[in-house]
C-alpha cells in the first residue's frame, strides 16, 4: 500500500477565512485503500481542510489532486467528474428530510446514471443492507436514531461507488457502542471494497481502532504537527503537541478544580511507554 501512487495529493495548501489563516502550506498524501484520519483540537482546521478537499471552499493557494485531477482548479465537467468520484458523510448526516432513506441513497444514481428505476431501488437497498439498514429504507430521516442517520448517510455517500469517502466527525453525538459499530463498518468497507477513507475525528478510541495513518493539525503553527501510525504516535512520540492530544492533557492556563486530574485516561499508559 505504501508504494502505490497516492490517490489524494495535497500540496502547499493555505486556507483562510478572510484574513484569518487557518492552515498554512499543508502537504500530505493519501494512499489508495487506507483509512486516513485528520485529528487535532477543536478549531485547528480539521473541518476546514475537509471542506476544501471536497470543493466547498477555495483555498488561498495550493492544490488538492484526487484521482489525478486538481479540484482547486477544475471547473465544469471536470469538476463534476471529481465530485462523482467522492462521497461525503456530513457530521449531522444531511439527509434530505422530504425523502425516504431509500430515495436519499438512490438520488445520486437517479441524477448521474441511466439505470432503470427498479435497478436504482435494488442498488439503494443493497447499499443500505451493507450498512445494516436493509429494513429501514422506507423510513424518513426524522424517524432514524443518530447512529442510523450516520449509517444512511454513508450508504448515500457510497451510492456511486466512489473510490474515496470523506467522513466528517462520524462518531460525534454517538454512544460508545454505536461509535464502535460505526468503526467496524468503516474498516469492513475499506477492506471489502478497497475504499479510501478520509475521516475528520477527535474521538481517540475510534482513531486508534481504525486509522491506518493520521495527521495531527496544530492550531498554533497552522500546519501538520505530526503524521503516521496513530498507535505508534501514541506509544512513542515525544512531541508535546502529540502528547497533549493523545494524553488529553489540560493546558496550564485552564484552572483544574481540586480532585480532578489534569490528565485524561490516556495518561495511565504513560508509565508503560519506554
Amino acid at each position: 500500500m505504501a508504494d502505490s501512487e497516492p490517490i489524494i495529493s495535497v500540496r502547499d495548501l493555505t486556507c483562510a477565512y478572510g484574513h484569518a489563516v487557518v492552515l498554512s502550506d499543508v502537504a500530505f498524501d493519501v494512499t489508495p485503500g487506507e483509512v486516513f484520519v485528520v485529528i487535532g483540537r477543536s478549531g485547528c482546521g480539521k473541518s476546514t481542510l475537509l471542506k476544501h478537499m471536497i470543493g466547498l471552499l477555495a483555498p488561498q493557494s495550493g492544490s488538492i489532486v484526487m484521482n489525478g485531477r486538481d479540484i482547486v482548479t477544475a471547473a465544469g465537467a471536470e469538476r463534476l467528474e471529481i465530485l462523482k468520484g467522492i462521497g461525503v458523510m456530513y457530521q449531522g448526516g444531511a439527509l434530505f428530510g422530504s425523502m425516504s432513506v431509500e430515495r436519499n441513497v438512490g438520488l445520486p444514481l437517479e441524477e448521474y446514471t441511466d439505470l432503470p428505476e427498479d435497478a436504482i431501488r435494488v442498488i439503494s437497498r443493497v447499499k443500505l443492507a451493507l450498512v445494516g439498514l436493509g429494513r429501514f429504507g422506507h423510513f424518513m430521516p426524522s424517524e432514524l436514531s443518530g447512529g442510523m442517520v450516520k449509517r444512511a448517510a454513508i450508504a448515500r455517500a457510497m451510492a456511486l461507488d466512489p473510490p474515496i469517502l470523506f467522513l466528517d466527525e462520524p462518531s460525534a453525538g454517538l454512544d460508545p457502542v454505536t461509535s464502535a459499530e460505526l468503526d467496524v463498518l468503516v474498516r469492513s468497507l475499506a477492506e471489502a471494497l478497497g475504499i479510501t477513507f478520509v475521516i475528520v475525528s477527535h474521538e481517540l478510541p475510534s482513531i486508534l481502532a481504525i486509522a491506518d495513518r493520521v495527521i495531527l493539525l496544530d492550531d498554533e503553527t497552522k500546519g501538520i504537527a505530526a503524521q503516521g501510525d496513530p498507535r505508534e504516535l501514541y506509544a512513542h512520540s515525544t512531541d508535546s503537541r502529540v502528547r497533549r492530544f493523545f494524553d488529553r492533557e489540560v493546558a496550564q492556563r485552564v484552572a483544574t478544580p481540586p480532585g480532578v486530574a489534569a490528565h485524561g485516561h490516556g495518561s495511565q499508559q504513560q508509565e508503560a511507554r519506554p
Binding site: G97, S98, L109, Y112, T113, D114, L115, P116, D118, A119, V122, I123, R125, V126, K127, L128, A129, L130, G134, R135, F136, G137, H138, F139, M140, P141, S142, E143, M158, A159, L160, D161, E191, A192, L193
Partner: protein, 393 residues
C-alpha cells in the same frame, strides 16, 4: 460467447449487450456468464435484458448459474444485479449458484442478501406519529377528535395567557412584543400602503367608469369611504397579515419544533405558548388596528387622485368620504380587525407548534397557516356581515 470449457450450447434467446453471455446447460441449467465490468453504465444496459432472460425460469430452466469469473471490476451496481437475479430465481423456485466471486465479494453478497426481494411486510414498521400532520380529509375520527381537543386546549391556553397579560403586565416579555410589533407592523408598512393606494385607485377608477354613465361620479368618495372602512380595510389588512406575518410565525415556531428548541423550553418549565405565542398575538392585536387605519388612509389617497383627475376639487372628496361613515362603522371595523388578527396569529402559531419532523414539515406548516388564516378570516367576515345586519350596525 459460451465458455468453451463447459461445452454448452448457446441459448436461443434475444441478443443481449456485450458483457453478458447466455447459455443453457444440461439438466435445465441456465447460465449467465458476465465479463468485462459490472459498473453502473454496464448494469444500466444489462439490467432489463438479464431480467427478461429469466422470465421462463422455473419452467424451461430449473437452475441458474451466475458466472462472474471473467469480470474485471464489480461495484455496488454489479452486486445489486447479482442480488436481484438471485432473488428472482429463488422466487421462481430455481436453484441458484454464483461462481467466480472472491471471498470478500461473497461476504458482501451475503450481507446484501434479501435486499432485492424484500417485501414491505419484512421491513421495520414506520413510526407514523413522527411523519407530521395529515390533512383534514385523511384523518380518522379518533384523530379528528384528538386534533379538536388540541385546538380547544390551545385556545384555552392562549386565552389564559392574554388574561394574565392584562392582569400582570409586568410578566409580559415586552421586548419580544416590541420586536414582533416591528416585524408585523413597521416592516409591512411599505407593502400595506402600496396595496391600499392601488386598491383605492382601482376601485375609484372602475366606479367612475360605471357611474359616469348615470352622472353619479360624485358618489364615488361615498362608496370608497364606506367600502374601505367597513369591509375592505379590515379584510385586506388581515389577508396581508396572514400572508406575511402568519407564514413567518409558523415558519419560526415550526423550525424551533424541528430543532427541539420547543422541547428545551418545556424541559425548562417554560410554556411555549406563553413564551412564543403570547408575544406574537399581543403584537398583532396592538399594531393591526393601526395598520388598518394606514391602509384606509392610503386607499383614500388613491381615490382622491382619481377624483382630482376628473375635475373634482379635494374639498369635495374629503367632505363626501365620511358622509356615510359613522363612529359605528369605525368601531365595527376595529372590532373586525381585532378578531381577524386573533384568528390569524393564533392559527399560525398553532400550525407552527404542530409541525412534524424535517424541513418539508416546516413548509407544510407555513402553507397550512396561510390557508387556514384565509379561511378563518373569510368565515369570520361572513359572520360579521350577518351580525351587523341583524344588529343594524
Amino acid at each position: 460467447m459460451a465458455p468453451q470449457s463447459l461445452n454448452i450450447k448457446p441459448a436461443r434467446l434475444a441478443p443481449v449487450p456485450e458483457g453478458l453471455a447466455l447459455s443453457d446447460g444440461p439438466g435445465g441449467e441456465r447460465i449467465f456468464a458476465f465479463s468485462h465490468q459490472l459498473n453502473a453504465p454496464a448494469v444500466s444496459l444489462l439490467w432489463t435484458p438479464a431480467h427478461a432472460a429469466l422470465a421462463d425460469l422455473g419452467g424451461a430452466a430449473q437452475s441458474l448459474t451466475l458466472n462472474v469469473s471473467a469480470v474485471d471490476y464489480m461495484d455496488g451496481s454489479g452486486m445489486a444485479l447479482l442480488v436481484s437475479l438471485r432473488a428472482m430465481a429463488k422466487r421462481a423456485g430455481a436453484k441458484v449458484q454464483v461462481v467466480g466471486l472472491s471471498d470478500q465479494q461473497a461476504h458482501l453478497l451475503e450481507l446484501a442478501e434479501g435486499a432485492a426481494g424484500m417485501d414491505d411486510a419484512e421491513e421495520a414498521p414506520a413510526m407514523q406519529d413522527r411523519r407530521g400532520g395529515k390533512g383534514m380529509f385523511t384523518k380518522s375520527l379518533p384523530e379528528l377528535y384528538a386534533s379538536l381537543r388540541l385546538l380547544v386546549c390551545f385556545v384555552g391556553e392562549c386565552s389564559l395567557v392574554l388574561y394574565e397579560s392584562l392582569r400582570h403586565p409586568e410578566r409580559v416579555r415586552w421586548k419580544d412584543v416590541i420586536l414582533s410589533c416591528m416585524a408585523v407592523g413597521v416592516e409591512s408598512m411599505p407593502i400595506l400602503l402600496l396595496i391600499g393606494f392601488l386598491m383605492g385607485l382601482i376601485m375609484s377608477f372602475q366606479s367612475v367608469i360605471t357611474l359616469e354613465r348615470f352622472g353619479g361620479e360624485i358618489y364615488v368618495p361615498n362608496m370608497l369611504g364606506l367600502v374601505m372602512f367597513r369591509e375592505m380595510g379590515p379584510l385586506v389588512t388581515a389577508i396581508l397579515l396572514a400572508a406575511r406575518s402568519g407564514s413567518a410565525f409558523a415558519a419560526e415556531i415550526g423550525t424551533m419544533r424541528v430543532n427541539e428548541e420547543l422541547d428545551a423550553l418545556s424541559t425548562m418549565g417554560i410554556s411555549p405558548v406563553r413564551f412564543l405565542v403570547g408575544p406574537r398575538i399581543l403584537s398583532s392585536l396592538i399594531v393591526v388596528p393601526f395598520m388598518t387605519l394606514f391602509f384606509n388612509f392610503a386607499s383614500l389617497i388613491g381615490g382622491a387622485l382619481v377624483m382630482l383627475s376628473i375635475g373634482f376639487p379635494l374639498v369635495t372628496f374629503t367632505s363626501r368620504v365620511f358622509a356615510n361613515v359613522g363612529v359605528a362603522d369605525l368601531v365595527g371595523s376595529i372590532g373586525k380587525i381585532i378578531v381577524f388578527s386573533l384568528l390569524v396569529a393564533g392559527v399560525s402559531c398553532l400550525r407552527g407548534l404542530r409541525t412534524g419532523g424535517g424541513a418539508s414539515a416546516v413548509g407544510r406548516s407555513t402553507t397550512a397557516a396561510v390557508v387556514s388564516g384565509l379561511i378563518l378570516i373569510t368565515v369570520a367576515d361572513g359572520l360579521f356581515a350577518v351580525l351587523f345586519y341583524y344588529f343594524k350596525i
